[in-house]
């Protein structure tokens, strides 16, 4: 996978989360892993379309999702609900949108799909055709894993 396509997603994730929450986000070591990817329980998936295809997954625990949503909505949300789903999906949408916009501004032809969110224990994301770059992001609300799998067509 070309790193040119990965870095904009990581940069966008850090910047968007910092802007949306007013807190610092620290990035961990990048790892390349084969499918399937185990998730932490809440996974918002954005499809990547155009000259490259693949997906970006924002993966976090329900507890971290509630804390992030509480901060972004300015109200305490103690139980996972529709507003948490909507907030996490929008966070993923903003990250994907900013990353793809950066790549388009560099001359690539790309687009994204609206986000889809999956929840559940012991859930896995599979795609045998794509290797996945996993970037752990440490936030004040808990860990957020950014998974990016892109293939040039």
């Amino acid at each position: 996978m070309k790193s040119d396509f990965v870095h904009p997603f990581v940069d966008a994730a850090v910047k968007v989360m910092e802007e949306a929450t007013g807190t610092k986000v620290r990035r961990g070591s990048v790892a390349l892993i084969a499918s399937p990817i185990s998730t932490l329980g809440v996974a918002s998936i954005i499809g990547i379309l155009g000259e490259a295809e693949g997906r970006m997954v924002m993966d976090l625990s329900p507890e971290t999702a509630c804390k992030l949503a509480s901060c972004m909505n300015g109200q305490e949300i103690s139980e996972y609900d529709e507003l948490v789903t909507s907030t996490i999906n929008e966070l993923a949408n903003m990250v994907g949108g900013r990353a793809v916009s950066e790549l388009v501004n560099r001359g690539h032809q790309l687009d994204i799909t609206p986000p889809t969110l999956f929840t559940g224990r012991d859930m896995e994301v599979s795609n045998t055709a794509l290797e996945t770059v996993v970037v752990p992001l440490e936030t004040d609300f808990g860990p957020v894993m950014l998974n990016i799998a892109v293939r040039i067509k």
Binding site: V16, E19, A20, A69, M72, N73, E82, L83, S86, T87, N89, E90, N93, M94, G96, G97, R98, V100, S101, E102, V104, N105, I112, T113, P114
Partner: protein, 129 residues
Amino acid sequence: MNEVKKTKKCPVLVVDDSEFVARLMIKMLDESGYQVVGHAKNGQDALAKYRELNPEIVTMDIIMPNMGGIEAISELFKINRRAKVLVVSAMGHANIVDQAMKIGAKHYILKPFQKDDFLKAVDIVRDAA
């Protein structure tokens, strides 16, 4: 002049498939004196609500299911060629901004946004000719 206009309860239609973003924008608009008359979750819904509610300003997302924002803006101008549209999107690349402005959007703001920046953008659209 701006304060006088705000007290007139300028009607706004919020178009965004995200409940989170819509709630945020509605709260900000309410607090600053705008009158939010409706919320649509996609382009088709936006066109129906525009006809029904006749808002002065429309905030329009771009990436939405069923009908996206670019197509919705084009269709909206067929209903009212003087419609005032503020694009509020996570997509900020030059191609899409140019496209939105070329078909008639008055202004463009990128998500995530701060309250002051968002309201300033709404004011610009409200005051646009």
